[in-house]
Amino acid sequence: MLPTFAETVETHKAMVYSILWHFLRDRSLAEELAQEVFLELHQSWKSVKSSRHLVFWLRRVTTHRAIDLVRKRKIRPEMSLEESGEPTALEQLHDSFLASYLGRMVASLPEKQRMLVVLRYQEEMELEEIARVLGMNVSTVKTQIGRALELLRAKTTHRLKPNEG
């Protein structure tokens, strides 16, 4: 049996909001879009068949909305990988600050790779699931995630090297 709409919002708001936050790196925009996703869910509520369908629906609509918004508004990430400053000494030393730094690095990836990384590592989705949500080929998903990780690793490792000289 499906939960009520209010229960659904409570259960899944973190998932929807976090996908948007990690992708857009703008809290008010993430919040605004998350509200729109749930509003759209309410309008389509009758068509939701099961809890599993519900999660799929939310992920799919959230990711597509986020990507569409970025394309429409040509939103630039907070910083590009090239422009990113040195992590502070604290960021280098403390994992929690590294998390913040990594989050910013993810946000500077090209939009498709960015969303792939978010779905893989925030949602811990299998490649096939990600492919279904985004309407992509599984092998393309795998390749693009691999490339995104290489990019992130290269920049993060470079930034975290101890200063020389």
Partner: protein, 185 residues
């Protein structure tokens, strides 16, 4: 005596004219299920209302353009859908009252699927020569009952394509696999 019967006969004739215009008759006892349902959908749109609704469909919305095309020649759209919080809230005689009407000439059942979970789906088409002149979908599940009656020329393919839009993800046909069949795009 005759004088008293004439008004009743006229009412009965008028009623049956409405019924035949509707295609099938949705029994009144079905509407009473709304009292027991946690959620219900009740749509009755005859030709004038369909035309009015169609005027308000947006030309800028691709889905509404599709809907406009689908309903352009329809005479009526009738939906009753009930969701219950527990099983046993409706009886099969409620469904049988509709099913029996679909044995009339012109109607043919093109889909009938029953599962052991008690999920039953039936699709009926009414034909007028080579044309489809009506569609009925009956969906009976343990906690949900839905009747859709579309009166007029309708393309079921166009209608089921709408499930891929309007915020509803569409699943491709299940492909035969070893083990479980799963929906895939």
């Amino acid at each position: 005596m005759m004088g008293q019967n004439i008004p009743r006969v006229l009412i009965a004739l008028a009623f049956s004219a409405v019924l035949s215009a509707q295609g099938i008759n949705i029994p009144h006892n079905l509407d009473k299920l709304a009292e027991r349902a946690t959620e219900s959908v009740d749509v009755t749109l005859d030709a004038p209302l369909l035309q009015l609704a169609s005027e308000f469909l947006s030309k800028d919305n691709a889905d509404e353009v599709k809907v406009k095309k689908i309903v352009s020649k329809l005479k009526g759209v009738y939906v009753r859908s009930f969701e219950f919080d527990k099983e046993g809230q409706y009886s099969m005689s409620d469904v049988e009252a509709i099913r029996s009407q679909l044995k009339a000439p012109g109607w043919s059942r093109i889909v009938s699927v029953k599962s052991i979970k008690g999920e039953n789906s039936e699709v009926y088409l009414k034909r007028d020569g080579n044309q489809v002149a009506g569609l009925v979908v009956l969906s009976a599940e343990p906690k949900e009952l839905t009747v859709v009656n579309i009166d007029g020329p309708i393309d079921p393919e166009q209608l089921s394509e709408l499930s891929g839009h309007m915020g509803i993800p569409s699943f491709g046909r299940s492909k035969p696999k070893t083990g479980n069949t799963t929906a895939s795009k």
